[in-house]
């Protein structure tokens, strides 16, 4: 397999952080640690969540680069993605 083939197959890379219990669904990420994940070109937030084996109903908030993102937002190379269940405090 050439380098080009590998790139085509893996698509792009995003930086994912999982918090507040979501990390248990994708233990490789660990709590709050930056984890590089390969997703196919055109993948959305929902696709990423599915790829990480996180049940969709567990994710309440998705930030992409510090901004609230809808599940259908298409991910870009290098995006910083953070996923949270419902939380509050103050």
């Amino acid at each position: 397999m050439t380098e080009n083939d590998a790139r085509e197959e893996t698509g792009l890379e995003v930086e994912v952080r999982l918090f507040s219990g979501l990390e248990k669904f994708f233990p490789a990420a660990g709590l709050g640690k930056a984890c590089l994940v390969q997703v196919p070109e055109g993948a959305t937030g929902s696709d990423l969540i599915r790829q990480l084996n996180i049940p969709a109903d567990q994710v309440f908030t998705m930030f992409v680069n510090g901004r609230h993102a809808a599940p259908e937002q298409v991910l870009q190379p290098g995006d910083r993605v953070a996923l949270f269940p419902p939380i509050g405090g103050g």
Partner: protein, 575 residues
């Protein structure tokens, strides 16, 4: 029949009086603010004999309404120069309500300067000499009082900072385990208590949930319904009990709104180290607790018990304290945060104001950013009453003046809490316009800006923030009058059946026919009363502004400024 307890510190006399009709349906913040507005001259010296210190349980406090044991403490603030209501958990409020006390009003000032303790029991109230307690930290005072008067008593007290009348001093009371850590922290009301030479109030009541209720069956049904709503909501029923309030560290950090290095950045590289998840894990590993109730009958149990390496216990470390003494100072070590928090609790200081003040001192170069040991050393000077210690205890605005710092995050003299107003603009509107000074709790737009509770308003844009803050400030003023913990708001904002259940509880308890519209009206009335007091104390709309660096310095990572204009901020009060 509920009564008012008046404590005249000039004559050292106590008197019970009937509750005037106009106060009969007021409680908590509504009552403290109304009494202060009625009885305290707005232009008076906050530390003089004309100021008063008012303690009031909420309307529902002392019943079995869930999470309803909050205590309101009011007076004229030595920190802001305006009206103040500071709100605490702990066990004392339920006891006051069960003794039939609607408010305790402490007035006057003794000529001799001697220290007193107010003891309240089912048999009445009396002032006792407290010379032996003066100079002691709050943990020791609370332990002594529990030994002397029984380990079930509630102890309201101040530390040495309050005795020295330092304007960041808070008023504390204890949780069910005797930790003197449940603070009515903000605005320097501890200094008002100190100015009256009242070291402690001991409240002894055998009952906790037996305040009079007119229609018990109807009340029980409404309380059960409200409790179910809280337990079913993912935040109040799951997030808060599991991780406590510090769970916010990560989400506010990811949103780029976690004030770091005295509000220079919106993200902190070591946020994970001081997060709620880390706190819960460490607390449990050391034999502490990740969930804990600050008062009996709370279903959210968002408190925690964090054992420190030196054998002491900080219970709890809350999000605001965690941020103020951690990321704000570039300190990424929970043990240091816990130690600083413990010292604040013991010496009697508001953790938010203290953290913001230490940030200003770091900005001035007095202490290096990130140097936990230096921060601990400096904070220990407060109890010794050194010049630096007194500056720290006097709050961020004073420290900024003393050291010539212009980047002082404060409004009306009160330090900003744990959300940068450039990346969470709704709460910036609240900071600017609340009669309390920079106070997140008085209109918690973070819920809607970042946590998506009660809808969503983009935190980075100016649009919609004034309306959001206004509505939240009105609703919160009303909620602060019920004795319910503010955190019920997460459920109230999302579940249309929650607020009707609250109104139903009040109606069942008092035999009233209040409607939802009456609740909104009450909130507006409270804000108007507080704002009028401030106007008479010398405040103008020009005081409803953020410090100018928020409009001129961009905040990374979003590189936004606070761009809501003065005339738009003035629209908060267009009701």
């Amino acid at each position: 029949m509920a009564r008012l307890l008046r404590v005249d510190m000039t004559k050292k006399e106590v008197n019970f009086a009937d509750v005037p009709e106009k106060y009969s349906l007021l409680g908590g913040r509504a009552l403290t603010s109304q009494i202060v507005a009625d009885e305290v001259p707005p232009a008076c010296d906050p530390l003089g004999k004309f100021n008063k210190l008012v303690f009031a349980p909420g309307l529902l406090t002392g019943t079995n309404a869930p999470s309803s044991g909050r205590l309101s403490v009011g007076g004229k603030s030595p920190l802001t120069g305006g009206i103040k209501e500071a709100n605490a958990g702990g066990i004392t409020s339920q006891k006051l309500a069960n003794l039939g006390i609607k408010a305790v009003i402490v007035e006057g000032k003794p000529a001799d300067g001697g220290w007193s303790l107010l003891k309240i029991t089912p048999d009445g109230a009396e002032l006792l000499d407290a010379g032996d307690l003066a100079g002691k930290g709050t943990y020791e005072v609370t332990a002594i009082c529990r030994e002397r008067y029984g380990n079930k008593v509630g102890v309201i007290t101040i530390g040495p900072a309050g005795e020295m009348c330092l304007s960041a001093a808070g008023v504390t009371n204890n949780d069910p385990d005797g930790n003197s850590s449940r603070y009515a922290g903000r605005g320097g009301l501890g200094a008002v208590m100190g100015s009256k030479r009242l070291k402690a109030i001991v409240v002894d009541s055998p009952k906790t949930f037996d305040a009079p209720v007119k229609d018990r069956e109807r009340f029980r049904a409404a309380a059960k319904k409200f409790s179910d709503i809280l337990l079913k909501h993912p935040v109040t029923g799951n997030g808060l009990p599991n991780f406590g309030t510090s769970i916010l560290i990560n989400v506010i950090n990811e949103a780029g709104a976690l004030p770091t290095r005295n509000f220079a950045f919106g993200r902190f590289g070591k946020a994970q180290e001081v997060s709620g998840e880390k706190l819960a894990e460490t607390a449990v590993a050391r034999g502490g607790k990740a969930t804990h109730a600050c008062h009996p009958g709370c279903v959210m149990r968002c408190s925690n018990v964090y054992p420190l390496p030196d054998g002491k216990v900080c219970a709890p470390i809350e999000y605001e304290s965690d941020w103020a003494l951690g990321p704000n100072l570039e300190i990424g070590d929970l043990d240091v945060v816990g130690r600083l928090n413990y010292i604040c609790n013991d010496v009697g200081l508001d953790t938010i104001e203290t953290g913001v003040t230490l940030g200003v001192l770091m900005e001035a170069g007095v202490i290096p950013f990130g140097d936990g040991e230096a921060a601990i050393k400096a904070l220990e000077e407060v109890g010794r009453g050194t010049a630096l210690g007194r500056i720290i205890g006097s709050g961020a605005a004073v420290a900024g003046k003393v050291f010539g710092v212009t980047r002082v995050p404060a409004v009306k003299g009160q330090g900003l809490p744990a959300y940068d107003p450039r990346a969470c603009k709704g709460v910036g509107v609240t900071y600017a316009t609340s009669p309390m000074g920079a106070d997140h709790t008085s209109g918690y737009a973070v819920a809607t800006n970042i946590l998506k509770s009660g809808g969503y308003v983009d935190p980075l844009k100016p649009d919609g923030q004034v309306d959001l803050s206004r509505n939240l400030q009105i609703a919160t003023a009303a909620l602060d009058s019920t004795g319910l913990c503010l955190f019920v708001a997460f459920a109230v904002l999302d579940d249309p059946e929650a607020l009707p259940a609250v109104v139903e509880m009040i109606n069942a308890q008092y035999g009233t026919q209040l409607t939802l519209a009456d609740v909104t009206e009450l909130g507006k009335q409270i804000l108007k009363t507080e704002r009028e007091f401030n106007r008479l104390a010398g405040f103008t709309k020009e005081h409803d502004r953020l410090p100018e660096f928020f409009a001129t310095e961009e905040l990374p990572p979003h590189n936004t400024v606070f761009d809501i204009k003065g005339e738009e901020l003035d629209q908060v009060y267009n009701f």
